[in-house]
Point group: C2
Chain length 368, copies 2
């Protein structure tokens, strides 16, 4: 038998109930039927999930470790999510807390094709942290978004991405938008000699996403944003395989708050399927992730994990230039600071505000 996936579920309840819950989860996430009714020896021995251990976290919280058979997953990212947390997601007190995957499976998925180094090259190749902002609000026509992108670029920003609300709407069709923005950024680069990396958001079904990536490539772009929990993990996996020259940044929309522990979702599962950079809500912003969660997420995304390239953390969600120093102390140089609304608030002074943000990141002294 190939070595198993180890999955840790965090459950509420007493130690006695945790033992029962563990057995139930092992069945739910594998054969989903009474084990006593299984007559096939192979299925009983190899396919049924196994309880590997139970760790008490506190009186009413336990981590149950389950071994799942890799045979149930094959090579499909959707099926991976299905087997890790499909039906268990319907239980209102279970969190997917950790996963450890066998070498074969990790190798089959392959992880990021570009990772931190690839994104760093795309963002100008500097050793320091990257700076980024977002094109918004949705509702603006392509030319207005292009003018906005040009102003960010004038301010010296490394990366400009689409807001995740920008899709392929009538007011700003994908093709028209990326053509206008790419042209505007080429114009600034010709003048300043400094390239800004534009990251359009691709959306829709797999084929629509894939066509949008083809359009982006034709505009000289090499990085896109995708929402794995809306596009579906198998479709992201397909996009990564079809477009090996493209770097992928994941947006967390629809990813939920906490039932899939953020370090697992962003640092393991998104990394596994080939995401190169992960946008996530930083602590102290508009969302509820704690500093500990953000640190664990960044550690999982960037830390060593088999032979997979590291993923660039992109903390966001209500960040301000004033927090740049603190965020760089927290995350170090392997990070992209994404500041949207707080820069846009500068209005006519946007170029100056952007330049000041970039200078602050330039001037930062890292602890390393």
């Amino acid at each position: 038998m190939a070595s198993r996936l180890t999955v840790v579920y965090r459950v509420r309840g007493s130690a006695a109930s945790a033992a029962e819950r563990a057995e139930a989860l092992a069945v739910e996430q594998s054969v989903e039927m009474p084990v006593s009714a299984i007559t096939d020896a192979y299925v009983r021995e190899q396919i049924v999930g196994r309880v590997l251990g139970i760790d008490q976290i506190d009186d009413e919280v336990h981590d149950v470790r389950i071994g799942l058979a890799p045979e149930t997953i094959g090579d499909d990212a959707g099926q991976l999510f299905n087997m890790l947390f499909g039906n268990s997601s319907l239980l209102d007190d279970v969190v997917l807390q950790d996963v450890d995957l066998p070498d074969d499976l990790v190798r089959a998925f392959g992880g990021p094709r570009h990772g931190i180094d690839g994104l760093r090259r795309r963002g100008g190749g500097r050793r320091r942290a990257l700076t980024g902002s977002a094109l918004k609000p949705q509702g603006l026509p392509p030319d207005d978004l292009a003018r906005l992108a040009a102003r960010f670029a004038e301010g010296g920003i490394d990366v400009v991405k689409d807001d995740h609300g920008l899709a392929d709407q009538a007011c700003s069709p994908f093709a028209a938008r990326i053509t206008a923005v790419a042209a505007a950024l080429r114009g600034v680069a010709d003048r300043t000699g400094r390239r800004t990396c534009y990251v359009p958001s691709v959306s829709g079904d797999l084929d629509r996403c894939s066509r949008q990536i083809d359009l982006a490539r034709r505009e000289g772009l090499d990085t896109v944003m995708v929402a794995p929990m809306i596009a579906g993990p198998a479709n992201v996996q397909a996009l990564v395989r079809r477009h090996p020259d493209i770097a992928f940044i994941a947006h967390p929309t629809l990813a939920g708050a906490a039932r899939l522990a953020p370090p697992v979702l962003y640092g393991r599962l998104f990394r596994l399927i080939g995401i190169d950079g992960v946008v996530f809500p930083n602590h102290g912003g508009r969302f509820g992730y704690s500093a500990d969660t953000c640190r664990a997420l960044a550690d999982a995304a960037r830390g060593p994990w088999r032979d997979l390239a590291p993923v660039l953390p992109i903390p966001a969600g209500g960040m301000t230039p004033e927090r740049a120093g603190e965020m760089l102390d927290f995350y170090g140089r392997d990070v992209l600071l994404l500041i949207g609304g707080a820069l846009l608030r500068a209005g006519d002074r946007l170029i100056d505000a952007t330049a000041a943000f970039v200078r602050a990141v330039d001037a930062h002294t890292y602890g390393d």
Copy 2:
């Protein structure tokens, strides 16, 4: 301006905080930036979400009603989920409680192509409730699953579906499985004159799902199961459009417990994108949905909603033949009772147990 989407979010907190939360949600789910920094008049007037009202549910729970612009969505189901509950899903105390969609948008998506009538015809055309079971455990080879399907059919069951764990794994490749199961069921039908509807589970990226549906059609099958929250809503929408002859049953895997209120998710959003039948965890089974939730879900799935065909409720998740009468009293005749493990437990007596289950449903007297 086209009429707005009305979205109801349930939030925790005092009345004073609810007003603030409402404004924040209206911005988060539309422009996602400080409104004061928006200079474009069209965006300020048409695109920014609007607070329409706040209803107190109790001291610490409020429903905030937000109007969102349909222009932000276009015709893409993924973007619909993104705008309804994308970033808000990252807030740990917000539930998507209700949605009301403009006529144009509902018409553009189109809803079920077959609905209850279409599934009823596929399940034998009787006026009574439908009976169904599942092929499991995963890990069995195609021939064993085919033999199991044949025994269910011998017992007179209307529908046999793949367990949602069955994908395209080495131990039971999709093509080999459906060929074997379809042949076995044709064999029984030739003998008994009674057709059993086989519903294979399609999985993987959009193109893989679509190829699997083509294979199913070649085997004479006309109904498939799909997991919208794993496949991604836009991809399900694409499958429905590409395969108008096929009826689609949705499995709830990865759909989460309660943050997207089940009546909205199953009865509105899945219905909108063209799902004909929805599997969901019935109350009193292995999962946590209450009887009230199940009733509201069934009402939303089957009740009148513009011109959309009604969706067949398929309560499941640890049901037993002993509960058939109670479930039929609860749901009436427009339901498919899905009983898996409890029938499989009968072992050598599976055909008899299935026949007894079907007889109980045959004999039931409905209140109508």
